[in-house]
Amino acid sequence: MKLECRHLSKIFGAGVKATRALEDISFETTEGEFLCILGPSGCGKSTLLRIIAGLLEPTGGEVIYSGNNTDGPLNSMVFQEHGVFPWMNVIDNVAFGLEMRGVSREERYKRSLDFLKRVGLAQYAMRNPHELSVGMRQRIAIARAFVNNPEILLMDEPFGSLDAQTRLILQDELLKIWSDHKKTVIFVTHDIDEAILLGDRVLVMTSVPGRIREVITVGIDRPRDLQIESTQKFLDMRMKIWNIIRSEVERAMTVGSS
C-alpha cells in the first residue's frame, strides 16, 4: 500500500482571521517505509497527519491510497496522549478497532492478548488504564493501532508527553515491533534524535505556513537501537538537520514573542 499526498493545503478560518496551516505539501511513501515528519511546534505537522487520517478535510489537494487493498483498514492512528479510553479496561482498548469492525469477542481478545504478551503487558489486560503509568498507556495506544492491522500507521508525537527515560524504552520497543510487521509508518515528531533513530526518511517542515523544507534520507543500517546515537554518522545527520531547522525555529520564536 502506497500513500501519496498531492499539493495539500489547509486554511483554518476565513477572511482576515484565516491562518494558512499547510501549503503545497506533496510527498509519497514507499512500501514498508518509516517516514518521520519533523518540525517545530505549530508547523502544522499534526494537521497534516489528521488530513492523511481522514479526520480533517484539506482545503486543497488530495490524499491518495493506492495498491492492493487487504481486509484491514487504511490507517490507524496513535494519538499524542489521552487517546486511551479511561472507561475501558486495557484489553478492550487494544481491541477497540477490531470491535468497531465487528470481529467476534473471542477472536479480538485472542489477537489483542497475543500482542499484549509480546509487549509484556498481558498481566494488565483486565486493569483500567488509570492504574497504569503514562508510558504503559502509550504502549496500549500503540498496541491498539498494530492490532487493528492497518495498511499505514500514523503516529502523532506518541512519546511527546513521556519522560526521557521512558521515551528511550518505547522508541526501542517501537523499532522492534515495526521490524516484525514492516508496516508503512508516518511518525510526527519535534525531536530530531527521535526522527533520525526511527526514520528511513525525515521530512523537515517549516512553519506558518507549514511547508516541506527538505526530505532527508537517513541511510543508517537497520536494525537500529540506541547505540547508533553515539556514531559519527548519527551526529553528522543531527547537525545537518539542525542547520536546516535552526533558522526556522528562530523565526518561529521571534514570531511567537512579538
Binding site: 489528521r50 487520517a53 481522514g54 479526520l55 483498514p73 490507517n75 490507524s76 492512528m77 494519538f79 499524542q80 496522549e81 489521552h82 487517546g83 479510553f85 479511561p86 472507561w87 475501558m88 477497540f96 478497532g97 470491535e99 468497531m100 469492525r101 483500567n128 488504564p129 488509570h130 491498539r144 487493528n148
Partner: protein, 262 residues
C-alpha cells in the same frame, strides 16, 4: 499536628462534633437555658421518635414519601438523561431545544404545583409530576454538559477506528458523560427531597412533609423535630448510596481528559 490514621482520635473526631452539639443541647435544655417550646431536648425527641416508630407513624409517612420521590425521580430522570445526551451530541437538537430549556428551567418547581394539581388532580400524580419536573431539568442540563465536555481526542479515536453512530454512542459518548450524569442525579435527588416536602405541606395526609406540617398545626414540637431529622437522614442516605454506586460504575473518574486540557 498529624493524626495517626489508625488512632482512636482519627475515628472519633468526625463524630465528635455531632455528639458534642447534642450533648451541649441536652445540657442547656436541662439547665433551662433553652425554651422547651422551640428547642425540646434531644432525649425527648428520641422518645417521640421511638413511640412514633412503635405505632408505625414513621413507617407510614416515610414509605409514601419515598414512593413519591422514586416515582418522580424515575419519571423525570430517564427522559432527562435521554434528551440531555441527545442535545449534547446533536447541534441541531440543541439549537432547537435550548431556548425552551433556558426559559422553563429557572421557574421554581413549587410555583407550578397548583397548575399540576389542576392538570393531574390532587392525588399522587400531581405530586410525582412536580418531583419529576424538578429532576428532569437538572439531569438534562448536566447530561448535555457531560457530552459537550468530552475531549475531542476521544471522538477522533472513535472516528479513526471506524465507530459508527451507535458504537460512538454506546462506547464513547455514554461512558464519557457518566460522571456528569451522576452529578445531575445527585442534584436531582437533593431537589426531589425539597419538592416532596413542599408539596406534602400543602396537599397530603401522609408523608414527611405532612408529618411536619401537622405537627406545626397541633404544636407537637417533638414530632416536628422528628420530621426534620427524617429529612436529614434521607439526604445523607441518598448521598452515601449514590457515592457507592458512582465509585463502582465510574472508578476512572478524575482520570479522564477534559476539553480544557487539550
Amino acid at each position: 499536628m498529624t493524626l495517626n490514621t489508625d488512632g482512636i482520635w482519627y475515628k472519633l473526631l468526625p463524630v465528635g462534633s455531632l455528639a458534642g452539639i447534642l450533648i451541649l443541647w441536652e445540657l442547656c435544655g436541662r439547665l433551662g437555658l433553652l425554651n422547651p417550646l422551640f428547642f425540646p431536648v434531644p432525649s425527648l425527641i428520641a422518645i417521640a421518635f421511638c413511640s412514633m416508630l412503635a405505632d408505625g407513624e414513621i413507617q407510614a409517612n416515610l414509605s409514601i414519601t419515598l414512593l413519591r420521590v422514586f416515582a418522580g425521580f424515575l419519571i423525570g430522570t430517564i427522559p432527562g438523561i435521554s434528551i440531555g445526551l441527545l442535545m449534547g451530541a446533536s447541534e441541531r437538537t440543541r439549537l432547537l431545544l435550548d431556548p425552551v430549556v433556558a426559559a422553563t428551567y429557572p421557574i421554581p418547581k413549587l410555583a407550578i404545583f397548583p397548575l399540576l394539581m389542576i392538570i393531574f388532580g390532587i392525588g399522587e400524580l400531581s405530586k410525582i409530576m412536580a418531583i419529576a419536573i424538578g429532576c428532569f431539568f437538572l439531569v438534562l442540563i448536566n447530561s448535555m454538559a457531560g457530552v459537550r465536555n468530552i475531549n475531542k481526542v476521544y471522538f477522533e479515536v472513535a472516528k479513526n477506528y471506524g465507530a459508527n453512530k451507535s458504537q460512538l454512542f454506546t462506547r464513547v459518548i455514554l461512558p464519557a458523560s457518566l460522571p456528569m450524569i451522576f452529578t445531575g442525579i445527585r442534584l436531582a435527588l437533593g431537589t426531589s427531597l425539597i419538592v416532596v416536602v413542599g408539596v406534602e405541606f400543602v396537599s397530603a395526609n401522609y408523608g414527611i412533609g405532612a408529618l411536619i406540617w401537622n405537627a406545626w398545626e397541633t404544636f407537637e414540637i417533638e414530632k416536628l423535630y422528628v420530621g426534620i431529622f427524617l429529612c436529614a437522614i434521607l439526604g445523607i442516605l441518598f448521598t452515601v448510596i449514590l457515592k457507592w454506586v458512582e465509585e463502582r460504575i465510574t472508578p476512572w473518574f478524575g482520570h479522564m481528559a477534559h476539553r480544557d486540557q487539550e
